[in-house]
Symmetry: C2
């Protein structure tokens, strides 16, 4: 697992951009207004997100419309699997414990 994608979405402003784009595709100016940062700051974060392929960009006259591309997040989803197994094993253990406890009452 490459840690890079975590550093990309670990930056608070970038995370907020992703969540804003989840609602709808937006132009840079819309994101600037929504997130309250300066335009160069937003543009630079969008560049990072573009290079991580977490967003796509299409041109509309002078505007650039950015849209979310969630596919790279599938890597995180897959990475989580062994940890998910742990939660479930813990859950199994809890259930086992509860079963045992119930049995004591019988």
């Amino acid at each position: 697992m490459d840690a890079a994608i975590f550093t990309v979405i670990g930056e608070p402003t970038r995370l907020r951009i992703l969540e804003a784009l989840r609602e709808r595709a937006q132009a840079v100016g819309d994101l600037v207004a929504a997130l309250g940062s300066t335009q160069p700051t937003i543009s630079k974060h969008l560049k990072v997100l573009r290079e991580a392929e977490l967003v796509n960009c299409r041109v509309d006259a002078q505007r650039r419309i950015y849209e979310l591309n969630a596919e790279p997040l599938q890597e995180i989803d897959a990475w989580l699997q062994p940890y998910r197994d742990r939660w479930n094993h813990s859950l199994d253990a809890l259930e086992q414990y509860l079963d045992d406890t119930d049995r004591e009452d019988e």
Copy 2:
């Protein structure tokens, strides 16, 4: 969603520590040997992981045995959900497209 957990696991050495501890709980010295960093470096990363509650620590004589605590990762799992929905919607759209294409052959 707090971006902090992403910055914690976005550091390559910390990510490797997590994956090493997934195999088995280990003392600091074991991790130093396994990951090839210096002891202070590993100890400092373990401190960050401790503060994020991604690892627990128990004392065994002079040694500190660190074990994985995967529970905080559930937050990431939950955060992924709306993005997962997108993958599935895209999949639906693909299936729809394939259905339509099939129909054209009929």
